[in-house]
């Protein structure tokens, strides 16, 4: 009966302007009906040549360029570059500045995860969680604005310290935010985690095995959802992360739902870290370091990496020692590797799952295209 019938594969072009590709990623999907046979990501729509730009900037000028590398967590970008340069120059950072960095990094992680939470819900068709998440994000941004006057590209963590000290009203405001934040995360969980539709959409979708995750260089929450306990804050502690008590959530299925749980847990853990940092922070101290415009680190090369909200963020800096500009700055973002592994994950799933998987991996395009 069905012998005469045949199905034909067809190609769907998803992106670069598509509501749910988180920026400008493009997928060429080969589909059989609704089922995906193969997916090929096409990137480069946001390739802004940041690495080339950095080669013609002084070290100090590189920091604002780094901001644009991963705008959801600009603080991390500042931090990773500052860390690399400090390693090159053998610079020490004052105690208070380190604490300020940690506070900002963790708050930024919360803000970034909130964007992820909102867009994930949005991609699965629920609009309301998106607006709820952005409501809390605004509170975090208020704190950043208070500190450095910017909402998105902060340019706050500088080489050798931070740009300026926090205003006195920062800490009460921050504590106020932390106090209510846990209850808000409960709200988020109430509307999505306990929703059978949401669970059905994410369970056993896009399963990433630990072997595959490590082989493809997947990092951060996506790696930990596959059952690999690897967090640079614990395993390769930078700054002063070895002084705080926090858990690393790990789950073992590696599907979209686990990646979701991990990130939700991480928000709570980050709040814990901020709380501890505020308690331990020395009450005063110098936080800035005056650096000459002709700052030249000695000859050398270094790859420094930190745990960003999207995985391992690294930067390779090579200095010749005789110019004030770096010879080469190579940036590495977690999303780059997570996007690489996506074609493997989406095979055999439906077109709606592409969206779910992409959201759960928390891919953001500037990190991929640079």
């Amino acid at each position: 009966m069905t012998e005469g019938l045949r199905t034909e594969e067809f190609q769907v072009n998803m992106g670069p302007h598509h509501p749910s590709t988180h920026g400008v990623c493009r997928f060429i999907l080969t589909m059989d009906g609704e089922v995906i046979i193969s997916a090929e990501p096409v990137i480069g729509y946001l390739h802004r040549a940041l690495e080339k730009i950095c080669e013609n900037r002084t070290y100090v000028q590189c920091i604002p360029v780094m901001d644009r590398f991963e705008y959801c967590t600009s603080m991390s970008c500042n931090q990773v570059f500052a860390l690399a340069t400090e390693k090159l120059a053998g610079m020490e950072v004052s105690e208070r500045a380190e604490y300020l960095r940690v506070i900002m990094l963790e708050l930024n992680r919360i803000a970034s995860h909130l964007i992820w939470y909102g867009t994930t819900a949005l991609d699965l068709g629920a609009l309301t969680p998106f607006l709820w998440a952005f409501r809390e994000r605004e509170d975090v941004l208020d704190l950043f604005e208070m500190t450095c006057g910017q909402r998105l590209t902060y340019n706050y963590i500088r080489i050798g310290g931070v740009a300026r000290d926090i205003p006195p009203e920062f800490i009460p405001k921050c504590m106020e935010f932390l106090d209510k934040f846990d209850a808000k995360v409960d709200d988020y969980e109430a509307i999505l985690t306990e929703n059978p539709i949401f669970v059905a959409r994410n369970k056993d979708i896009g399963v990433l095995t630990p072997e595959m995750a490590v082989a493809y260089g997947v990092s951060g929450p996506s790696l930990r959802a596959s059952g690999v306990r690897h967090d640079l804050r614990k395993d390769d502690p930078y700054s002063i992360y070895d002084r705080f008590k926090f858990n690393i959530p790990v789950r073992h299925n590696g599907d979209c739902l686990d990646r979701y749980y991990i990130r939700i847990q991480e928000m709570r853990e980050s709040a814990k870290i901020v709380r501890q940092a505020i308690e331990q922070m020395p009450k005063e101290g110098d936080v800035t370091k005056r650096i000459s415009a002709n700052f030249k680190p000695p000859k050398g090369e270094v790859y420094s990496r930190i745990e960003n909200s999207r995985g391992e963020m690294g930067v390779y800096v090579q200095s010749t020692g005789d110019t004030k500009k770096p010879l080469r700055v190579k940036m590495r973002g977690g999303s780059y590797n997570q996007l690489q592994v996506m074609p493997e994950l989406v095979k055999g799933h439906k077109i709606a799952d592409v969206v779910a998987i992409m959201a759960s991996l928390d891919i953001i395009m500037p990190e991929v295209d640079r």
């Binding site: 000028q61 082989a215 260089g217 390769d236 090369e301 790859y303 390779y316 010749t320 500009k325 010879l327």
Partner: protein, 158 residues
């Protein structure tokens, strides 16, 4: 394995194949030979004491005189990390793909091919992906690269 142990272990294991570079207090940095690349990578991945299963980053560097290719590798299992690089001339710039060893290398190598014009041997998918499809202005990351609408930041702004 701490930093010193790692350096001793690696220099003993690979003796004349690698050379330690001085990079201050950062992670150990080695120089390897281009022809040993694949063999070296395979060794460090399969060695049970190292098990460098995680490729952090591959970056090409144009120093103005020659190319350097930097590999940053880590081990999730043993929690160690080091870097190594290889050096080659502009003429006949070509390296072997390490994609078989670390699948993550795929895009990093593709990017190198596209932006620097370094040929990757045994890479199955050398296609343009960062630059526009109709790009015809060469390899923009080279230090000597220039184009009509490419404006350098003037010195006085720095």
């Amino acid at each position: 394995m701490n930093r010193d142990e790692l350096i001793t272990y690696l220099t003993e294991k690979f003796k004349d194949k690698i050379e330690l570079l001085d990079t201050g207090r950062a992670e150990p940095f080695f120089l390897i030979k281009r022809e040993n690349l694949v063999e070296f990578c395979r060794e460090i991945k399969s060695d049970l004491k190292l098990e460098m299963d995680y490729l952090c980053n591959i970056g090409a560097v144009d120093t103005g005189e020659r190319f350097e290719i930097v590999y940053d590798v880590a081990s999730v299992e043993n929690n160690i990390r080091f870097d190594f690089k290889l050096v080659m001339e502009y003429e006949g710039a070509e390296i072997d793909s390490v994609r078989e060893i670390w699948p993550a290398a795929n895009w990093y190598e593709r990017e190198m091919w596209e932006l620097y014009g370094i040929n990757i041997k045994n890479h199955p998918n050398l296609k343009r992906f960062l630059l526009p499809d109709d790009w015809n202005q060469g390899n923009p990351m080279l230090k000597s690269w220039d184009a009509p609408d490419f404006i350098r930041m003037p010195e006085e702004l720095q």
